[in-house]
Symmetry: C2
Subunit: 353 residues, 2 copies
Amino acid sequence: MTYRATIVPRNSAEHGLVDAAKLVIARRTGSVDRLVALAASDMAGVDALIAARMQSPVSVIPALADHLIEAGGKRLRPLLTVAAARLMGGHGDRCIKLAAAVEFIHTATLLHDDVVDASGLRRGKVAAHLIWGAPSSVLVGDFLFARAFELMVETGSLGALEILARASRVIAEGEVLQLSRAHDLALSQATYLEIISAKTAELFAAAAEAGAVSAGADAAASAALRAFGQNLGLAFQLADDALDYDGSTETLGKNAGDDFREGKATLPLLLAIARLGPREVDFWQRAIGRQEQTSDDFRRARELIVGTGALEATLDLATSYAEDAKLALAIFPPTPWRDGLEALADFAVSRRA
Amino acid sequence: MTYRATIVPRNSAEHGLVDAAKLVIARRTGSVDRLVALAASDMAGVDALIAARMQSPVSVIPALADHLIEAGGKRLRPLLTVAAARLMGGHGDRCIKLAAAVEFIHTATLLHDDVVDASGLRRGKVAAHLIWGAPSSVLVGDFLFARAFELMVETGSLGALEILARASRVIAEGEVLQLSRAHDLALSQATYLEIISAKTAELFAAAAEAGAVSAGADAAASAALRAFGQNLGLAFQLADDALDYDGSTETLGKNAGDDFREGKATLPLLLAIARLGPREVDFWQRAIGRQEQTSDDFRRARELIVGTGALEATLDLATSYAEDAKLALAIFPPTPWRDGLEALADFAVSRRA
């Protein structure tokens, strides 16, 4: 499969199919603060550009886009683009435009995902489709996606355009694959990793790679930053899937237990099912397979997922991807930008939201 | 408004707000056959490229895309791209790739539109979202849109990329504007023309302009082909809106009366309302404003629209845009390609489906 290649091969060889008993990994507490401080003026430029380019004479468009964009989020993806470009010595505002484009692509996918999943909360606010309706969310997503490409064209970087066009296609493939395997209790861990590699890690990888390419990085440096983004994205999504069973709605900004209620077969669930063997089969088939849930089911699922060690195993796998991300940076001399990216990798796993 | 500028100004001055009594225009019978024959080998290449690039390891994607693309349609937009490029002396397969990209953008908007409008039929087949579900239609639309940009990047033409990225954004704006003014019986003819200029004519304009630019056309020639496409698109959409009250479901490939049942305020309806004045206000407010329709309402609406001359007036306006389209070609020497484009302009109005 096309996007299978985007999973960094050494991971699948080393620990692609997780057995937590074999993994003893120290989890480092990371922070996004160092990178945020370094990129402060650049990110102010990104925010200003985002605010300017979400405008339209059709007033529903900025209203709906603003609802989601002003809710914030961590802006990790555009931060990656800026950091990769500055690490490679890139000057000027080319990476600012690319970073805004990356955030627009991400926002477009969030709008469409929330329609697809019928989600209720996003970034701590009522999901846009519940206020403006699903049709507006679909069309404003299309608007933002097109705006992203307009911004990319302005940079004149065909290399960056190629990377982000491909990423946009791979993301859609990952989303469809996830949709077609929804409620599938027999989902293999390999297919699960394919899905998150495409739907999440690909944009992290492309965001970093496009930043590097736009700054004139050579093939080895671009590949290293792509590998960093790819592994960071996998760590981020695995931690996200763990948080759905471990975090509170208040800190998450979305409903804890959303994945479970939507019947999404994420790794914590798949591992728990595998470890329980024949036990609890009826429970999973009713609650996930047939989507017949009672109000107590999420609590019970959480107990099983924590009790079998599936939650910890998921976080261990996330940690190992974060370590791989940091290793990918070893070809660069130590600089504040490299240090900031390393701290970001640790943050992806140690965060609580 | 940004997309207002895309309405060719001379039209609005001459007959933007239609008064059919003033218009006595001979409608010529056109045909797409001449252009289809000239472009036969190019369009075979476009079809092959479309078939190749709709493929994905995620099997739902080609299945859903194929359902819509294999149903055919007239492929007018990619035909425009090819014809514009060949008219300007373009060689090679650059325009083939752009033409496939144009068709992918069009197909993506159809998939999303059918979800937005909850349409039942498209190109004579059950709409994709009724078979695979709305979520799949949304995501496969995203896939095709991204594929379009991958194809454009391959051509290396930043000029064509800029034109089609902008068009994609304008189309989304037009769709949102239409959605926000749905069921609005007070919609002005000017706003109606803005909507169809953005949601339909923009892609015709961009398809022709991108083909010209990719062949190295100068600014005057590119602008002329853009104007041709723009006017052709307006003629095409006006004829389409008339056909919804005049054609049969069998020849249309979609349900006759769809616009009426969806409460869309198109020109035939708006003109009939204007001409009837205070008469029938209750009927329109119930059937369109509040969307409370009986099975007999479409027949009655059709009688009023034909009886007031609103249908003929809409077709007259379509004819005048088709004439403008042909005038835009006057700067080019007569060649088989120019003749073919002229016949296409007449076809846009004289067609029965």
